[in-house]
């Protein structure tokens, strides 16, 4: 009850001096705002990557043609990775449950009537849909038979549907991939944007053999994705895959791999590295702002304590204990910091929208960063307020009343 009353007294002091209160808040506002942006985008990016990895599958490995490849970075593709490699993995490595050989080509022109757009053309085996966990939401996915007879059939993502068909049903329609006519047999479930910025819904899936013979005119692959029986034996399987491919590609011991193995952990690491430089900078900005904020609050509180000596004296004379004075001034500092913190969070959320639009990182509003930001604000208030509040509490009431 007493504490509550003392707190009310502190609040009225803040309202009385708005300009000063705002100045006190400024550092905290900036610090907390940047902190909110960082924490939200880092956590947002992480959870985005995590969910992508979940979809990618923790029991899956990608083998890309070429050495030192990173997902999403274009590079000449060597011709050594073959369908037979994929078949060999399934038959020779016991922990490999399934393998999808595929060829990807970005920015591939696709037309319907007089409308045209570009998509990611993916030629893959019929098990692609299962392994990539992307079933058709309409129509059906192509089958092994479709692949074997080099059928000109395609399953397309929603972005392609929107670009070419708007609201019409694309199933059964003829589209042109390059100059090759294909029949749309299904529409893929939406998958959003990948961490690399690629629109997953702009994919066009065609049977692998059809793609090799009729579109790309190549017999090598872009990548193979494999599914494991036992995800805990990931690293052993990676080594088995490497040994198998080196043997099949006749690589001498001194020669480096002509393929790149990407595991889910690597995908996660890569995605978190992208944002780390940026967040390091922002963390620095927010730490400096918070420290400056604390120093400003502490200084203004010292001034306020000096100016309000007689107030302290009066309160002490009518029965306030040292503790009551301490709580009042401390509460004042913390309230300023917390209100600054709330303003900072709001500003940060606005900033987050901007940053998200600008950097194409997912803007996820979650409670953890907000709690973190407000906790920092409370800490700043306590740290900044404790010394001035102590000084006020220890004023000699007789001197203070003079």
């Amino acid at each position: 009850m007493r504490v509550l009353r003392a707190s009310k007294q502190a609040l009225s002091a803040m309202v009385e001096n708005k300009a000063r209160t705002f100045l006190m808040m400024l550092g905290v506002i900036i610090g907390v705002a940047t902190l909110t942006v960082i924490a939200s985008s880092v956590i947002g990016a992480r959870s985005d990557v995590m969910s992508k990895v979940q979809k990618f599958g923790l029991d899956q490995i990608m083998i890309m043609a070429g050495s030192g490849r990173k997902p999403g970075v274009p590079q000449p593709v060597p011709t050594t990775l073959r369908i037979e490699d994929a078949q060999a993995m399934v038959s020779e490595i016991s922990n490999v449950k399934d393998a999808v050989p595929q060829i990807n080509r970005r920015d591939f022109p696709v037309k319907f009537g007089n409308k045209s757009t570009y998509g990611v053309l993916v030629a893959a085996d019929a098990n692609w849909s299962d392994v990539w966990n992307t079933p058709p939401e309409r129509g059906r996915f192509f089958s092994r038979e479709d692949n074997a007879r080099l059928a000109r059939v395609a399953v397309i993502g929603r972005t392609i549907v929107k670009d070419l068909f708007e609201s019409d049903d694309p199933v059964g329609k003829q589209i042109l991939l390059g100059n090759n006519p294909f029949e749309v047999m299904g529409v893929l479930e939406p998958r959003g944007t990948a961490a690399s910025g690629v629109d997953m819904d702009s994919r066009i899936l065609i049977p692998l053999l059809t793609g090799q013979k009729r579109v790309f005119n190549q017999d090598y692959l872009f990548m193979i994705k494999i599914v494991l029986h036992d995800a805990s034996k990931m690293s052993q399987t990676v080594e088995d895959v490497r040994a198998l491919l080196r043997e099949r590609h006749n690589l001498q011991p001194a020669v480096e791999d002509d393929f790149t193995i990407v595991t889910p952990t690597q995908v996660m690491n890569l995605a978190s590295k992208v944002s780390s430089t940026f967040s390091l900078f922002l963390i620095l900005v927010s730490a400096i702002s918070l420290v400056v904020g604390a120093v400003v609050i502490a200084n203004i509180m010292f001034i306020a304590v000096n100016e309000r000596r007689s107030e302290v004296g009066i309160r002490r004379a009518v029965g306030a204990r040292k503790r009551d004075i301490l709580i009042q001034f401390l509460f004042e500092a913390v309230s300023v910091a917390v209100i600054g913190g709330i303003a900072g969070v709001l500003l940060g959320l606005v900033g987050l929208k901007a940053v998200a639009g600008f950097m194409k990182v997912p803007a996820v509003i979650m409670w953890q960063p907000l709690v973190l930001a407000l906790t920092c604000a409370v800490m700043v208030g306590l740290l900044a307020g404790i010394q001035p509040a102590r000084r006020a509490a220890n004023l000699n009431p007789i001197d203070a009343l003079k």
């Binding site: 009385e16 004296g313 040292k322």
Partner: protein, 232 residues
């Protein structure tokens, strides 16, 4: 109620010991109205601070209601000031940004009593004749009115004693008389009052005058000549 036994107070000033109070012994009973008179700098403020539990004697004993105050810690002294003592200061010492009633409830904020504070403030302000000034800020009030707000604040927690330090020092004579009239009314109602002043006219409003010189009590006795009675 107040019992000082050989109380001395020494201050350290530039390596010199200054004895502000020397062996002051004093008894004030319930319901008394006492003036302490002394020229400035003769220790009367120090004595008042000790009586008001704002300061502790260097030596000697101080019993308040039989309780040894000289041995108490800071929190206990705060509680005594809060529950048993009301202060009235020369320069009023109101909080400038708070209204009359908000100033009056200040002691209640630091007390454990559970009353409707605004109602209590209103009734005390009414008793000092300020029923129509409850929501005014100090700067909107005359000096006399401000001092009456301060008296209301001193009274709000029903203290055992009111200590006033030059309560009329900053007031014109009419306002000063008004404040002293309020004190006489309080005295008539049974409140114990100690007024420190250097003004003989004010001192003679009390029933008993203690005179101090050089940190000692030089005379102590009933008021011989009552100053001209306050007339409306």
């Amino acid at each position: 109620m107040i019992n000082l036994q050989k109380v001395s107070k020494t201050f350290q000033k530039e390596n010199m010991e200054v004895k502000v109070l020397q062996d002051v012994s004093l008894d004030v009973g319930d319901g008394e109205f006492v003036s302490i008179m002394a020229p400035s700098g003769m220790g009367k403020s120090t004595l008042l601070n000790i009586l008001g539990c704002l300061d502790k004697p260097t030596s000697g004993e101080y019993l308040f209601d039989g309780v040894p105050v000289h041995a108490m810690d800071d929190d206990d002294l705060s509680r005594i000031r809060n529950e048993k003592i009301g202060f009235v200061f020369q320069s009023f010492h109101l909080l400038p940004r708070m209204t009359a009633w908000e100033n009056v409830i200040l002691p209640l904020i630091y007390s454990d009593v559970d009353v409707d504070m605004k109602e209590r403030a209103f009734s005390v302000l009414t008793s000092v004749g300020l029923a129509d000034r409850v929501d005014h800020l100090p700067r909107e009030l005359s000096g006399g009115q401000q001092q009456r707000v301060a008296i209301a604040r001193a009274l709000v927690n029903s203290p055992r004693i009111i200590l006033a330090d030059e309560p009329t020092g900053n007031l014109d004579s009419a306002s000063g008389r008004e404040v002293m009239r309020v004190f006489r009314e309080l005295h008539a109602a049974g409140t114990t009052l100690i007024v420190v002043t250097h003004d003989r006219d004010v001192a003679e409003q009390a029933d008993r005058i203690i005179e101090m010189k050089d940190g000692r009590i030089s005379s102590d006795g009933p008021t011989k000549v009552r100053a001209v009675e306050v007339s409306k």
